[in-house]
Amino acid sequence: MNAFLNQLPIGLSIGAVLLLVALGLTFTFGQMGVVNMAHGEFLMAGAYTAYMLQSWAGRQAVLVALPVAFFVAGLMGLVLERTLIRRFYGRPLDTLLLTWGVSLILQQVARDLFGAPNVQVKAPTWLVGGAEWSGIRMPYARMFILALAVVCVVAIWFYLARTKQGRRMQAVMQNRELAACSGIATSRVDQRTFFIGSGLAGVAGVGLTLIGPVGPALGTYYIVDAFLVVVAGGLGQLRGAVLAAFVLGLLNSYVEYWSDASLAKVVVFAVIIGFLQIRPQGLFVLRSRKLT
């Protein structure tokens, strides 16, 4: 029983990381119909933003970086959408290869700018250490990431459900052609979706600096996990992403506890594959029929 409780916060925090890295991807995926392979590099851009800001924000860099990274990564996403991706809507395979190429280029750019070795971002002093309740330990950094994930989800939920722009975004994701036929300027919505989705990756990247080093290949460690969460949750589905991230996080932490890390990865992967056999559309479905 104690082991079960002990693993719970670990599982939740793994889930929170998964959710953060996948959240933005759900939207760009929902919109393009294909995974944005450069999403991982937007995470990296967010992480390096925190690293760069240390020179004047010192140990509070992580906090300062959250909005800045949102903007930096968002802008990168916007440029990517405007210059390349929008020419390839309706061509998923091309888009996939294209964003993969962009991902490799961005990694090289990071190597040139910041050097190949990993760097460290110093966490604020108030995030060092952890809390303990009756034998259950939870590092403050992990709690911060969990809180960050919750804030991001609530913000996105509010945007989608309660704002004019958010409703438009949903309409375009659910039925692009019908949205255009309803007078919605879909390309403007696309830009906004890309800005927000990529910006969320930047925010996630800042969070990642609290739990590991920052390097040019940071994104490659997370893109697969993010992809799995998005696919399991259903494209463009907030509820689905939240549920999938925490189920996978908890599963991961318990299997890891009873066996080891690599077996945990295998089990999680097998569960997702099995699940997608039963429900290829993911937990929740977004799209209704297309125009005939």
């Binding site: 039925n175 255009a180 036929c181 309803s182 007078g183 919605i184 390309s187 209704s288 029929r289």
Partner: protein
């Protein structure tokens, strides 16, 4: 009101429309007919800019809209109800109408109410997700959604196809009233003769991507014209 000339449309290398001409007079009702797969939906999609055209021109109220994106054609007053009672399935009925109304840039909330007056059955369903409605209810929502864009012309693609008979008459009556009472021009794709005969000023018969007949509504009684439509 609408003038289409020499329209050619292709899906990749497969050409589907070969120089189609079509005209809808101000406040008129024109019906496009033809068997399955002759290119009726393709024609409407091209008129709305959902599909790119290879050649030809689309002029709406004297303005060449051939190169305009779809949403701008909608804002000019072309209200489109695509085939297959399309809705935003995960949004509620109210949100479907609201997102459309917001996109129209109209300040007048009465537009949504007027659309609901045309289809009062939708009122008790406002909080329901559109994806959970019956086909007939979805089609009513689809037409209401088009009305909210503030159209001067309604473009309807088989609005009664696959819909329970009780609602078919409601939809037909609504279209008739919108046309007669509000003076909306209508471009209608319809497979069923009765409705077309009752309403159409003029009709156009398509076959394999070309216009094979064009005439006044009354001619629909003609045996030869019926022959063009028989399966």
């Amino acid at each position: 009101m609408l003038e289409v000339t020499g329209l050619e449309v292709a899906y990749g290398r497969a050409q589907v429309l070969f120089g189609v001409d079509l005209a809808v007079p101000d406040g008129g009702l024109v019906c496009v007919m033809g068997r399955n797969g002759v290119g009726k939906t393709t024609l409407l999609n091209a008129v709305m800019g959902v599909l790119p055209t290879r050649a030809g021109k689309v002029v709406f109220e004297g303005r060449d809209v051939t190169r305009l994106p779809t949403h701008q054609r909608v804002r000019l007053g072309m209200g489109y109800v695509p085939q297959g009672h399309e809705t935003f399935g995960q949004l509620t009925v109210a949100e479907n109408l609201r997102v459309t109304w917001e996109a129209s840039g109209s300040k007048d909330r009465g537009v949504v109410d007027e659309a609901l007056d045309v289809f009062p059955r939708l009122r008790p369903l406002l909080k329901r997700r559109a994806g959970f409605l019956s086909g007939g209810q979805q089609q009513q929502l689809a037409i209401a959604r088009a009305l909210v864009t503030g159209p001067r012309m309604l473009i309807l693609d088989e609005p009664t196809e696959g819909i329970q008979p009780s609602i078919v008459t409601e939809i037909e009556d609504a279209v008739e009233r919108l046309h007669r009472e509000r003076g909306l021009a209508v471009l209608l794709v319809e497979q069923y003769l009765d409705f077309a005969m009752r309403l159409a000023d003029r009709f156009t018969v398509l076959d394999a991507g070309v216009v094979v007949h064009e005439g006044a509504g009354a001619e629909l009684r003609d045996e030869r014209v019926r022959g063009l439509l028989a399966v």
